[in-house]
């Protein structure tokens, strides 16, 4: 990589889009006023509760509130939710009225595109929102699951990338973006969604020879770190 890209690593040029990874964990395209968020996993706690894990029932509220803050700050016109918006098919029916109201407010005066994910193959249709398996903008494909062989650039989610590094006797593990010049995978935005280490073999075919950068999200700051500084779980 050359000097310039390292210094300006906070902006990703993928296809015809110039995307800024945001410290909140979303991706933003200021020219198109486009915000991309992935893996909200709404109603995850209530989904797990059905199987006996009574985790705090505040994840949906927490996720929506955090997203509302980002939206208020960046003021996008279009939001793409890159799939797994819901943790399971019945998620929408379990959502409380209060949370539904917040979600409705979030969609007001904005175009939403819900990409389908493996957790929500058939998400609910809201007015002024589209549901699609994939969408193309500026020569870039937006889909949930990254494809191994791509001929055109893509932006995806699904894998919940996380980076771990170790220094001075401590290890730190955080959600992150992982990208190269043709691909970017977003961290999971949902409050109770963890991460998969980017050194896991699941990432190997997507970023051969570990040529990638991670943009690590920590306490509302973003740090760009290369694979040589990372460790596996």
């Amino acid at each position: 990589m050359n000097k310039e890209s390292a210094q300006q690593s906070a902006i990703l040029s993928i296809g015809g889009l110039r995307l800024t990874p945001d410290a909140s964990g979303v991706l933003y395209e200021s020219h198109e006023k486009l915000l991309i968020v992935s893996d909200l996993h709404l109603e995850k706690a209530s989904s797990l509760a059905r199987r006996g894990s009574l985790l705090p029932p505040y994840d949906t509220l927490d996720t929506l509130k955090r997203l509302s803050l980002v939206v208020d700050r960046l003021r996008p016109q279009t939001i793409i939710s890159l799939g797994d918006t819901w943790h399971d098919t019945h998620g929408p029916s379990r959502m409380s009225d209060d949370n539904a109201a917040i979600f409705t407010a979030l969609r007001k005066n904005m175009d939403w595109i819900f990409i389908t994910g493996n957790h929500d193959p058939d998400p609910p249709h809201f007015s002024s929102a589209r549901v699609m398996d994939e969408i193309q903008m500026g020569g870039v494909h937006f889909r949930h699951e990254p494809k191994i062989k791509i001929t055109e650039p893509e932006i995806a989610g699904h894998l919940h990338p996380a980076a771990k590094l170790r220094a001075k006797g401590r290890s730190i593990r955080r959600k992150c973006f992982i990208s190269d010049s043709t691909r970017c995978i977003l961290p999971a935005f949902g409050s109770l969604t963890g991460g998969l280490n980017v050194l896991d073999k699941a990432f190997d075919p997507l970023f051969p020879e570990q040529k990638f950068l991670t943009h690590i999200v920590s306490s509302d700051q973003l740090f760009t770190v290369g694979p040589q500084s990372l460790v596996s779980d």
Binding site: M1, N2, K3, S5, A6, Q7, K44, S46, L48, A49, R50, R51, G52, S53, L54, L55, P56, P57, Y58, D59, L61, D62, S96, H160, L165, R166, A167, K168, G169, R170, S171, I172, R174, S191, L192, T193, G194, G195, L196, D200, K201, A202, I216, S218, S219, Q221, F223, T224, V225, G226, Q228, S229, V231, S232, D233
Partner: protein, 835 residues
Amino acid sequence: MTRVSNVAHSMLPEIFQSWFAARGWQPRAHQLELLDNASQGRSTLLVAPTGAGKTLAGFLPSLVDLSSLTPSALKKRGLHTLYISPLKALAVDIARNLETPVSEMGLPFTIETRTGDTPAHKRARQAERPPHILLTTPEQLALLLAHRHASQLFADLKTVILDELHALVTSKRGDLLALDLARLHRLSPSLVTIGLSATVREPIDLQRYLVPQLKNQAHQSELVCVTGGAQAKIGILKSAKRLPLAGHTALASMPEIYKAITAHHMTLVFVNTRMQAEFVFQELWKLNDASLPIALHHGSLDVGQRRKVEAAMVSGTLRAIVCTATLDLGIDWGDVDLVINVGAPKGASRLMQRIGRSNHRFDEPSQALLVPANRFEALECQAALGAVEAAAQDTPDARIGALDVLAQHILGMACADGFNTDELYDEICTASPYATLTREDFDRTLDFAATGGYSLRAYEHFAKIKQGRDGIWRIATPRAAQHYRMNIGTIVESTMLKVRLGRMTKAGTPQRGGRVLGEVEDYFAEGLVLGDTFIFAGEVLRFEGLIGNEVIVTRAAKGVDPKIPAYAGGKFPLSTFLAERVRAMLANEKEWESLPPEVSQWLEWQKEKSVLPKKGELLVESFPSGDRFYLALYPFEGRLAHQTLGVLLTKRLERARMKPLGFVCNDFGICVWALCDLGEAMRNNSLSLDDLLHEDMLGDDLEEWLSDSSIMKRAFRYCAVISGLIERRHPGQEKSGRQVTVSTDLVYDVLRRHEPDHILLKAARADAASGLLDLKRLGDMLKRIRGHVVFKALEKVSPLSVAVLLEIGRESVYGEAAEDLLADAERSLLEEAIG
């Protein structure tokens, strides 16, 4: 013989009397006293040093009672006696020892053990047809009590014997056992309990633990104390080499330790951490020209290997074992004639317990050697010596029962017959750790166990326990019962990875091949980089890679030094009691004579260059060094309290714009350094020590730091597992690519933002405050030193502070916030790109 024992002696059946006589023994007074108490239905705490025949004393009442039954009555008799031990190895060992008198007297009792290793079919049979005497652990007892037929199983239980009670009651396991005891007392109201304990500071705490507590009124068992025994012969090892100022390896003393081993038949070398054990073992073998059989024993070694060492020890084929706390408890491993304690003993009671391992014959003196690793530790060893001579004790205070353990117990009781809320609350309050439990906390814990205890009532449909129309709470689903059984217990291990010898393929990739050497904590394995060398299982190993959940290693070439530092200070903080003795020693020059010369000289220097604090004073020094300005404090309150103080002090200095950069501490003192001249700021009164060390630091400053600290997250993780919020990971459950379990850190963050007064946060907070931060001790110290702070502005480092400063590099220092480390990594990327 006292009157009581005369009476009791006549109670001893003929067959027992002749058994004692045949061995040339006399029943001891305390054994008969226990027999007498038990026969009158009185519970008893027996406090006795090792070798006093404690075990036999505990079992004698049961054996006598069972021997009075006719063969047919015996056949019908269900469970008569439960024996609970903190270690499963101890339960197995005791069962073996019990077989001897029982078979020699021809008594037809059934005696069985039940541990996690007992096969499932045997455990099922034990619940159906129990033996007369069952030896088991607190976890297995909890499982039995959660059984549907628990009330029948324990209805005729007559005696419970609790071994090593002093060790059990200081942890959450003690809380769990207390709750189970409360249930046993209820199922079998005439139950007699017998507690066996080493000497403790407050036997009354244990006496209360043994019997049901009544409302607003303490209640305690009888107490039988065995005093005497020969005074132990303890010395401090004099090393030919000078004691270093810092460090914990005791490297300089290895030749003398080896010499002591050659002069005895069997030596136990106790150290405080696994890493120290590995180090000492390595060093001893370097000196072992005579090839004496010296072995290694610690908790991370493979079970098979540990059992081999133990067997060799019993058979007398070993000359020395280097070991950690795994051999602390009372397993009788044979003829030890010398105990060496390397490093600081940390507490007088712990030291006595270890010394007690030597010479199990009650009336002969134990031999012990203390080996300080640095000059501070020399002070501590001397203080411990004084404490042992004065037979002074420093065991910790009685616990307040933990709420996460209570949540687990509530689920268990719902799995059994079910419970009525008021009755269960009353029952739980009879357990001494829970005697002060408020109804509100109980109700909230019950609510937590049922539906998660959230103020947002979202999970009524998914309740784990439900109240029936009859008012009885029962487990809601078989799944919830299964979940409870799988998650029983209070010991949350950090994830362990197996260390396996491997080989390299031609392509240079590691491959599994050889045997498993043992286990390491995952945080240790995480720190390893390919090619790193470290000491484990007594060898220098080379890290070759991770395969699945195994650390693959090869043997390092001969002469290769371990690269990863394999030493660490003691895990246990210096006890309050010893700390006080050390402070008193510093203040009293007469006592310096008994110290090694380099230590007393070091104190002389300190007196000359700075000052030594008088009793009750806290010394604070300031001095410049390099381009930094240092502040050194010597509270002698132990590492944990010092770490907490370090964090809070740095925060205050930050607010005072002193630009603090970091701090380091050990068991004795703490050093903070900053960019601004701290000494000057004190002199011109822009910085006040009184303000800096004000107790109010334990208010908002603490809360602000704590809420986001990894300490709270760790405490929360333990509580989440114990209380059943998160499922335990079980061995064999391989990490799958996608994380299945939700990280407790994420749960913590969400819960803290939305329900900061949730009961589980309260439980985690209580744990962090007592276990990891030592808040009470810090608070007591701040109160104590108010108005007694001695400040000394120096031109350069003082002799005392050097010993603290040398910890830099060994200990992590402040300022390594996650974001700083990430920024470092980012910089290294930039440098690589530019360079």
